[in-house]
Amino acid sequence: MELLEYQAKELFRMVGIPILPSQTIKDSRKIKQLQIPYPVVLKSQVRSGGRGKAGGVRFVANTIDAIAAARNIFNLPILGEYPEVILAEAHYNTEREVFLAIVLDYDLQSPVLLGSAFGGMNVDLLLTNLQQVVVEAEFSLFYARRLAAKMGLSGKLICSVSDIIAKMYRLFFEKDLDLIEINPLGINTQGELMALDGKIKVNDYAVARQPIVETLNFSAQQSKTEPNLNQINWRWLDWHHKLGKVALICGSFDSALLTWDLFKQDKVTPACSLLLENSLITEADNLQLYREKLWEILAQLETIKGIKVIVLNIWESAAISREIVQTISDYCRTAEELTLLSKAEQVLVNSAITADNSSNLNVNYPNLKSNQTPSATPYFILRLLDQDNLEDLPLTEKIYLSSNLEAAISEAITIVKSN
C-alpha cells in the first residue's frame, strides 16, 4: 500500500525527520484559513510520479492566487488520478538536493540503502549516480555512513545525512515497509536538512498489523479489498487482446499462465482470461454456488465481441467437473432457445415491414439491427479431470471434452481457424 506525501510526512515527523510546516486542504475555499505564511507551495496529493511536470505543484504568493491554483490542481488528473487532498507547504531555499531511499531487495533477502548525490526530478542523472549499501545483518549507523561516503558527501553532512537514514530505517523496520524514499532531501546554505518530498510503501502482507496506517485517513483508491478466502470467486485477469477469438476460464492463476502461454506458442492470442477460484475448505463441492459463479462468467463473456471459443481448464473434483459440464450444456441450450426465439421474432418483424412498407422503419424498430443478428453461441472446450465420469452427460454439438490440455488447445485453434 502506497502512502501519499502528506501521510508519509506524518510518519517522518513521528521519528524526527525534519519536514516543513504544512497543512492539508480538501476544499479550495478553505485555503483562506491557511496558517502558513506566504509564499506557499501547493502540491497535488496523488500516488503517480511526475506531478511536478504535469502541473500538480504550484508556487503561490497570496490568497487570491492560492484559491485559483488550488481549484486548478483539484481539477487536474495526474495519470488519470484526481487528488482528494492538496498539501500546502512553506517554501524552502535549498542549495543542493540529494536522494535517499531504503528498499527491500528480494533477491538479496536484505534491506538495501540507496542514495544519490543528485536528487530531484532529473531521474536519469539521479540513477546514474545511484549508490547502494546492503544491510546484511542488524542495522547499525555505520551502514548509513558508508552510504553517505559513497554518495560523495563530506564534512558534517556525513553525520547529519546518516542520522536521517537511521531514522528512515527505523520506520522501514517498525512499519514493515517495502520502500521509503526522500526525494529530494533539501540542503540549505547552513547545511540544514529538510525532507521536501517523500514516498512510503507499506508491505501489503503486513498492513493489517500496522495500526498506525489506519489513523492516516486512507482514500478509497488506496485501500484494496482482499479477495475473500474460503469462497468461490471469479475475477478477470488484466490480459486482453482485442482481436482474440478465444476466452479462457481457468481454475488458478498458474493454470491461466500455462494455458495462455501454450496458445501463444501456437501463434494464437486469446481475447481474455478469467479465473474461477475455489478456496472452500470444508464443503468444497458447493455445486450450486459453483454453478452460479460459472453462469455469471458466461454472462460476462457475452459482452465481449468476437469470442468464438471458450476454453475451460479446471482441475476440480469429479462432482464439480460434472456440474461444469451440466452448467455449460444448460447454458448452450438456453442460448439456442433464445436464438430461435429471436429468429421467430425476426420473421414477424419482416412480415410487418413488408405489409407496412413504412418509410419510418428505423423509428419503429430502432433495435432492429441488433436483434437481427444475435451472436452465435460460442464453442466450448472443456479440459476437465475424470473424463470417464462425464461421458453419460448430455452434450450438444458445440461442447468438446478433453483430458489433455494440449489436445484441447489444438481443438480450439482448429475451430478458430475454420470459422
Binding site: S48, G49, G50, L79, A101, V103, L104, D105, Y106, D107, L108, Q109, S110, V112, L114, V123, L126, L127, L130, Q132, A137, F173, D176, D178, L179, E181, N183, K199, N203, Y205, A206, A208, R209, N230, D238, W239, G251, S252, D254, S255, A256, L257, L258, W260, D261, L262, K264, Q265, I281, T282, W315, L405, E406
Partner: protein, 300 residues
C-alpha cells in the same frame, strides 16, 4: 534426511479448518503425525491427534520430533518457527503464505545459524508417491518413479506429473518451494539434493521465474560438482502478458522513479545462461518427458 522413512511429525496451528483438514488427510494416508500444537487448545484433540499448547509439552511424551508443519496465521509464523528451532526440530515446512517479508528474512537468518532446513513460506510440502505425504499436494496426481520434481506451483506440478506419468517416468519425490518472493531453502539446494539422491534419475524444476542469484548459484554448483543427472527447467508463462517482477533494489527503485517504464525482460538471458551449462529448457509440459528420455538414452 530420509523423507521416506517414518518420521515423527507435528502440526503447528492444527486447530484451524485448513490445518485440521490437511492433518486428517495426511494421517489417513499413513503420515506419522504425533501431535498438534495450538496455544490455548492444549488437551483437546483433532480427530485422534492430541493437541498441546507448547512444543516442549509434546517433547515430554515424544522422544524426537523430526519435522514440523507450520499452518499458523501469517503474523505468528516467525514465532512458531523460533519455537520449533528452540525445541531442536531440524526440518520446518511453512505452509502459510503471505508472510511479511521482514519476518521471513529474520526467520531465514535464524534458521541459518541453527542449521535448520526451512521449506517455504507458502510451500505445499513434500510428497513421495505412495510413501510419504507432508503438506497439501494431492497424492492422486503423482505416481512412484524416478524424476525429482521441484516446483513453485501446485497446479503446474500436477500438469507436469500427468505428462511424466503418461510416459511411465513417475516421480521419486516432489518438493514445493512455494511462490513467495523470499523463501528458505532454494532451488539450488534441492537440485543438489536430487543430484545425490540414488532414487532420482532426472530432475525437473518448474517455476515462473528464477532470480539472478539462483542462476548464479546453479552455475556455481554446476562448475564445482557438475550435474550428473539430466536437469530440465520449465519456466511457465514466458509468453503470457504477465508483468515481470524483479526483486533487486536498483530495478525496484528505477521502476518506481520512472513510473511507467517497464523493466527490461531478462527471460531470454536466463534461458541462455541455463542452456550454456547443459541444462535443458522445456517450452511446455509435454516436452519434459521427451527431453528426459532423449538425455537418458544418449548416455552410455
Amino acid at each position: 534426511m530420509n523423507w521416506s522413512s517414518p518420521n515423527k511429525i507435528i502440526v503447528q496451528g492444527i486447530t484451524s479448518n485448513w490445518a485440521a483438514f490437511c492433518a486428517v488427510q495426511m494421517k489417513a494416508y499413513g503420515t506419522n503425525i504425533v501431535a498438534g500444537v495450538s496455544p490455548g487448545n492444549g488437551g483437546t484433540k483433532v480427530e485422534n491427534i492430541p493437541v498441546f499448547d507448547l512444543i516442549e509439552q509434546v517433547q515430554a511424551q515424544v522422544e524426537k520430533i523430526d519435522v514440523s508443519l507450520i499452518f499458523v496465521d501469517s503474523y505468528q509464523v516467525l514465532d512458531a518457527v523460533r519455537e520449533a528451532i528452540a525445541a531442536g526440530i531440524n526440518h520446518v515446512i511453512i505452509l502459510t503464505p503471505k508472510i511479511p517479508p521482514l519476518d521471513t528474512i529474520e526467520l531465514i537468518r535464524h534458521a541459518k545459524k541453527t542449521n535448520t532446513l526451512i521449506l517455504g513460506p507458502g510451500s505445499d510440502g513434500i510428497i513421495i508417491p505412495q510413501q510419504a505425504w507432508l503438506g497439501n499436494l494431492q497424492p492422486q496426481f503423482y505416481q512412484p518413479g524416478t524424476v525429482g520434481l521441484i516446483t513453485s506451483s501446485r497446479h503446474l506440478s500436477y500438469e507436469v506429473a500427468t505428462e511424466l506419468n503418461a510416459a511411465s517416468l513417475g516421480q521419486s519425490m516432489v518438493i514445493s518451494l512455494g511462490d513467495e518472493r523470499i523463501i528458505g531453502s532454494s532451488l539450488t539446494h534441492w537440485l543438489s539434493i536430487f543430484n545425490e539422491d540414488p532414487n532420482t534419475k532426472a530432475i525437473v524444476s518448474i517455476g515462473q521465474r528464477i532470480n539472478d542469484n539462483d542462476i548464479e548459484a546453479i552455475i556455481a554448483y554446476s562448475k564445482n560438482y557438475g550435474y550428473v543427472k539430466p536437469v530440465i527447467i520449465y519456466l511457465a508463462g514466458l509468453k503470457a502478458p504477465q508483468e515481470k517482477v524483479y526483486g533487486d533494489a536498483t530495478t525496484i527503485i528505477s521502476n518506481h522513479l520512472s513510473g511507467s517504464i517497464p523493466a527490461v525482460n531478462r527471460d531470454r538471458q536466463t534461458v541462455n545462461k541455463l542452456k550454456k551449462i547443459g541444462i535443458k529448457v522445456a517450452n511446455k509440459p509435454s516436452e519434459i518427458p521427451l527431453l528426459i528420455q532423449e538425455t537418458l538414452s544418449a548416455e552410455p
